[in-house]
């Protein structure tokens, strides 16, 4: 219990519901990308990177649990049921996080785009006025720092190694970029969180902050940004997902579904 449910600032039922929905979106992002990262366990290019990415996967899933718990503090419910007991259409993750890994290059590009966005998002929560959430965001942020170091090192190296590797990284970026806009999609009523100073920065501004870091970084390593708005995809936060999420959930939840009442 984080005491979130008893915060005076959250007396209004509607605000609590919006915040809970927002936190579920954050947690879903972390859970789903964490699961995708974990699919590399045993298959990464070298054993060191395998161990490191597996750790990152564990950390993302750990963060998901923290955010599910906060959501349940507000609206009741069980974090495990949120993670394992929902159908694909009830998930609020950005579509970017559910895409299959494909090659290592795509996973690295996605990790970098995602973790930079996550950093901006955590900054906005950490600067908010709701102490328990701001503290949580600052704590989670400490672990995310390594994820970025890892992703950006790999990204720089693969982009500068050979013509072939550079070409594949460009393809990976071309695939990931249109989905990245969905990371900043709002849940309904999210502007109330900005008005209540719970999330200090709104989604449009967060996206601008993200671009300010990501665009020069990608260009400095010689990648070309795909043209804007050509097939920008969002909708994940409204429950629109690809079939890939259904496949992922089938696998991820199979043990839980075999006995939902079991305690672990």
């Amino acid at each position: 219990m984080s005491g979130l449910g008893t915060q005076p600032a959250l007396q209004r039922r509607e605000l609590r519901d919006v915040l809970a929905a927002y936190l579920v979106g954050v947690a879903d992002d972390e859970l789903i990308i964490g699961h995708r990262h974990s699919e590399w366990t045993g298959f990464a290019p070298d054993i060191e990177s395998d161990v490191a990415l597996s750790s990152i996967a564990q950390e993302e899933i750990g963060h998901a649990r923290l955010f599910y718990e906060r959501a349940c503090d507000l609206t009741g419910g069980d974090p495990d049921r949120l993670a394992f007991g929902r159908a694909s259409g009830e998930f609020r993750n950005a579509v970017l996080t559910e895409r299959p890994n494909g090659d290592w290059g795509y996973s690295i590009v996605r990790l970098v785009l995602y973790d930079r966005a996550d950093q901006v998002r955590l900054d906005a929560l950490a600067a908010g006025e709701l102490r328990p959430l701001a503290d949580l965001a600052s704590t989670v942020r400490r672990e995310e720092k390594y994820h970025l170091m890892y992703g950006e090192q790999w990204l720089r190296r693969l982009t500068s190694a050979t013509e072939v590797s550079r070409g594949r990284m460009q393809q990976a970026l071309d695939r990931a970029w249109p989905d990245a806009v969905g990371l900043f999609e709002s849940v309904p009523g999210q502007e109330e969180l900005r008005a209540a100073a719970i999330v200090a920065v709104g989604p449009r501004e967060q996206r601008a902050q993200w671009r300010q870091v990501v665009v020069p970084m990608l260009e400095s390593i010689g990648l070309t940004l795909p043209t804007e708005n050509s097939g920008d995809r969002a909708g994940g936060r409204a429950g629109w997902h690809s079939d890939d999420l259904r496949t992922l959930l089938d696998e991820m939840t199979s043990v839980w579904r075999s006995d939902p009442q079991a305690t672990w």
Binding site: D46, I47, E48, S49, V51, A52, S55, Y146, M149, Y150, Q153, R157
Partner: protein, 109 residues
């Protein structure tokens, strides 16, 4: 003094991509060789070493050193370290400070 890479029969290129990792548990501890990582350079080696060697153990500082930079003695020369006469006078085991330093870790206080 031969280079460790030669003793291990590694090529220069391999040795330059193999890094010895030294971990320091607290600021009062020495850096201890805890294992190796493969990496194209020191920056990546540090980054990978962080996850290989600090995900369970405490750490305040890491060093990585490419094997190509390590000079070493050979096991064939182990006689170099043998003592011919009794040198127990060097141990100083009855000094309390010496006992404190050599006490196994975890049994302090």
């Amino acid at each position: 003094m031969p280079r460790l890479a030669e003793l291990l029969g590694k090529s220069d290129a391999d040795a330059a991509r193999l890094f010895a990792v030294f971990r320091q548990d607290t600021k009062n501890d020495p850096h201890v060789h805890v294992g190796d990582v493969h990496a194209p350079d020191a920056e990546m080696a540090l980054m990978l070493a962080k996850e290989q060697f600090t995900r369970r153990d405490p750490c305040v500082n890491l060093w990585v050193v490419p094997y190509s930079m390590i000079a070493a003695t050979s096991y064939d020369e182990a006689a170099l370290f043998e003592h011919i006469t009794d040198k127990s006078y060097r141990f100083g085991g009855s000094y309390r400070e010496q006992q404190r330093i050599t006490r196994p870790k975890g049994r302090e206080r």
